[in-house]
């Protein structure tokens, strides 16, 4: 490979993993980390590498699979988004104590903003809690190089290493000259050592002491030491930056004419912060500006915080992304030079994301509201969160919580003798990820609610990755498939029926049956099964296309736009009625069953 390529940050990290001989990579999709594993699968196929690459059922399983490979001496990695790291934090904390054999990289992608996440949490803080070193790349190319450095660091100290890119690294593209790829030559060789790998608490104490000793040495490891980007600059003030904020600062300081006079240090390893660096900057400078996302991890390790302008002092925002205009203002203020004021954004009719035209979820939410109009609707993480627009989503907490929250609402209301209809929605991938234990719990505790599993045969929100029921894995390789109905039945559910939401009248009837069952008999599960409209990898049958038109019976009441909210239903101001936007319409025909005046008709 000697050609420059325009690579997505995630693809660049994926290339870094194969360049550096990772043999096992496992992940669960989550924005902005999703393309890392699909990238690995793609490079694996291109270079024909002997690797195990998998979409795991969740992040905890992904981390544990990759970790075992590392225990057996292979280089391994796992990738996830920051909230996925919460799911995987249990094995991470323990793996930090036990340590690794083969280099082990945990890539956790953060989402300052947030753009596509429930929280703006900082994975570097989790690394600190777990006591593992963390690297903070500023660009796709930097992230690619840090995969190699991270694996080297991991092997040098037998410790898991976290690589923490942010959205602006994962989803930035850069022209990159990737490194050469050599197939890994190691063979799995697990050396039994129960006092380490199955350590009891007394041994854990010793392992904890050993981990602290490793961290002291890592805080002096030269290859990850902070770098002065503008040697020759002097003065009693300096800027310390990490991640994308360092990339912004580099350009902004040149634009503000500060490059020669204000030292700019880039921290590559925010934790553990290099001990000598801490001593050096506190000795050399009177004032420090620290720019990092999103928590003050570097800042809190600088002993003399009185000299630090950062998040603790309120100088740097603690919430939201550090955009270049913000960085420009902060640096200008810090250096006491005039900076340009940013222009105020003009107003205008806002847009919100919406379910795709023809999305089966839209029909499901419409049916749920018809079957339980005054219900409580717990929902979950996925495209179907957009059921908010249809009034079919009341709560979104975290992966799998729709099921436990439905049970929790039931138990809470039961105490006062009330029995509201509760209809929870969860996607197929999310159900496999975290929905099964709460379903078992609901059956055992005799909760009463309907769980609708929105089964579109894919993990749609993150770009159509397979699910455990798909029968294929990363890169399209065939796998075994799990039978969802059998799984639901095995949890003890007595009502489990499959319906096709696109057949709206029949699906509404099924939903009404399920709601009636749940009122008296326990948990009812409806599997709403219809393929995702944008999943190009789907090979099964699709519903027959039904092109529609709006007849003169339309009186412009906008019921369809308000209640069904399909982007292809457009209100024509001139004609004072609804028309079909044929460029957008997917010909699903479901809206024919929505119009109260039957004005939406199938074109024969």
């Amino acid at each position: 490979m000697s050609e420059r390529m325009l690579l997505l940050g995630n693809d660049a990290m994926a290339h870094g993993l194969v360049e550096n001989g990772c043999s096992v990579v496992a992940s669960y999709p989550g924005t902005p980390a999703s393309e890392i594993l699909s990238g690995v699968a793609q490079w694996q196929a291109r270079y024909q590498l002997p690797m195990h690459v998998e979409w795991a059922v969740n992040e905890k399983v992904a981390l544990e699979i990759a970790y075992a490979a590392s225990q057996a001496g292979l280089r391994a990695a796992t990738a996830m988004k920051q909230v996925g790291l919460n799911v995987a934090s249990d094995p991470l904390m323990s793996a930090a104590y036990l340590g690794v054999k083969g280099g082990f990289l945990v890539i956790s992608a953060d989402d300052p903003g947030p753009h596509s996440s429930q929280t703006e949490q900082d994975s570097r803080l989790t690394a600190m809690a777990a006591k593992v070193p963390v690297l903070d790349p500023d660009s796709p190319e930097h992230a690619r190089r840090l995969t190699g450095l991270g694996l080297e660091l991991s092997e040098a100290f037998e410790v898991p290493v976290m690589l923490r890119p942010t959205t602006r690294v994962c989803h930035a593209n850069q022209d990159i000259l990737p490194g050469a790829v050599h197939p890994a030559v190691r063979r799995a060789d697990f050396v039994k050592d129960p006092q380490r790998w199955a350590a009891t608490p007394v041994h854990r104490y010793r392992l904890h002491l050993a981990l602290e000793e490793k961290l002291r040495k890592i805080a002096a490891w030269e290859p990850t030491a902070p770098q002065l980007l503008n040697p020759g600059s002097g003065g009693r003030r300096a800027v310390i930056a990490a991640g994308v904020a360092a990339a912004h600062a580099r350009e902004i300081m040149q634009d503000l004419g500060l490059w020669e006079v204000l030292p700019l240090w880039q921290v590559v390893q925010p934790y553990p912060l290099h001990t000598a660096f801490i001593e050096q900057v506190l000795a050399a400078y009177d004032e420090l500006l620290v720019l990092e996302e999103t928590v003050g991890v570097i800042e809190m390790q600088l002993a003399d915080r009185g000299r630090v302008r950062g998040k603790r002092s309120g100088f740097v925002p603690e919430v939201g992304e550090l955009l270049p205009e913000t960085v420009a203002r902060l640096i200008a203020d810090f250096a006491a030079v005039p900076g340009e004021l940013s222009v105020t954004a003009p107003a205008g009719g806002g847009r919100r994301p919406t379910l795709c035209p023809g999305c089966p979820h839209r029909a499901s939410f419409y049916a749920i509201k018809r079957a339980a109009p005054r219900g409580i609707y717990p929902s979950d993480i996925g495209c179907y969160t957009l059921g908010l627009n249809l009034g079919g989503v009341d709560t979104v907490l975290c992966m799998g919580a729709a099921v436990s929250q439905a049970a929790g609402f039931y138990h809470a209301y039961r105490l006062s003798g009330e029995l509201p209809d509760i209809v929870a929605t969860v996607g197929d991938s999310t159900f496999f990820h975290a929905g099964i234990p709460p379903l078992i719990d609901a059956v055992v505790q005799d909760a009463r609610f309907v769980l609708v599993i929105l089964d579109n045969s894919t993990t749609a929100m993150t770009g159509n990755q397979p699910t455990p029921a798909s029968g294929c894995g990363a890169g399209g390789v065939p796998t075994a498939a799990v039978d969802m109905e059998a799984l639901v039945a095995a949890c003890g559910v007595k009502f489990c029926r499959v319906g096709q939401p696109g057949d709206l009248p029949a699906f509404i009837a099924l939903m009404k049956e399920a709601v009636a069952f749940a009122r008296t008999d326990g948990v009812a599960v409806v599997i709403a099964r219809q393929p995702c409209v944008v999943d190009r990898s789907y090979r099964g049958a699709r519903p027959t296309p039904r092109a529609v038109t709006v007849s003169d019976a339309c009186n412009g009441c906008r019921y369809c736009i308000e209640q069904f909210e399909c982007p292809a239903l457009v209100y024509d101001e001139q004609r004072q009625r609804v028309v079909i936007d044929t460029l957008t319409c997917s010909d699903c025909g479901v809206c024919t069953a929505v119009c109260p005046r039957l004005a939406i008709e199938e074109i024969p």
Partner: protein, 193 residues
């Protein structure tokens, strides 16, 4: 801030319009022409009918992946309201190349407010140069209304200092074979504007 060595193009549109693909074609052409290129966008929620923004920056050396407010040389809009919404990113006297297309946001569809009027006049009043392109009409003439983005890319290509062959090569690389001829035609229609 004003970065003299880097050119900044902000692409904006509505989810589903192909904004991200256009940004990719542009970045491929710029890379082939020898520039250091960085492109940044938000995936996920925004793909589904929300506002989509892609930042493309190129020059000799580019560090930051995103454009600072007030620093875009060109706003390249696939929908008029989206182009207007991003005006705060434009440099004083910068250029707006916009598709003459209005996609009503939900508030308009629901009858809560009208689609904002006089957007072209408001863009011009800000001091920007406005190039309004009827992408849909020209793309339909080229053979497919879905090639409107390529018409706009053609219009943009006339205003960037890179050889046309890099654009052609990028189109050949990124556009599926069966749609290539129509897109090449659409690109030429755009260049003629």
């Amino acid at each position: 801030m004003t970065t003299t060595t880097v050119t900044n193009i902000l692409l904006v549109g509505v989810g589903g319009q192909g904004t991200l693909l256009a940004a990719e074609v542009m970045s491929e052409a710029l890379m082939a022409a020898g520039y250091d290129v960085k492109k940044s966008e938000i995936h996920g929620m925004s793909q589904r009918g929300g506002s989509v923004v892609s930042h493309v920056r190129f020059g000799q050396v580019v560090h930051s992946p995103i454009i600072c407010e007030g620093d875009a040389d060109i706003i390249f809009g696939f929908e008029l309201l989206e182009a207007y919404r991003c005006l705060s990113f434009l440099k004083p006297n910068g250029t707006v190349i916009a598709n003459d297309l209005r996609i009503p946001p939900p508030s308009v569809l629901l009858g809560k407010e009208p689609y904002p009027g006089g957007l072209a006049e408001r863009i011009k009043a800000s001091g920007a140069e406005l190039i309004l392109v009827d992408g849909l009409k020209l793309a339909t003439e080229a053979g497919n209304p879905k090639a409107a983005n390529t018409v706009l890319l053609g219009a943009l290509s006339q205003r960037l200092d890179i050889d046309e062959r890099y654009w052609q090569a990028a189109l050949e690389k990124m556009v599926p074979a069966k749609a290539l001829a129509v897109n090449q035609k659409a690109f030429q229609f755009g260049r003629a504007i």
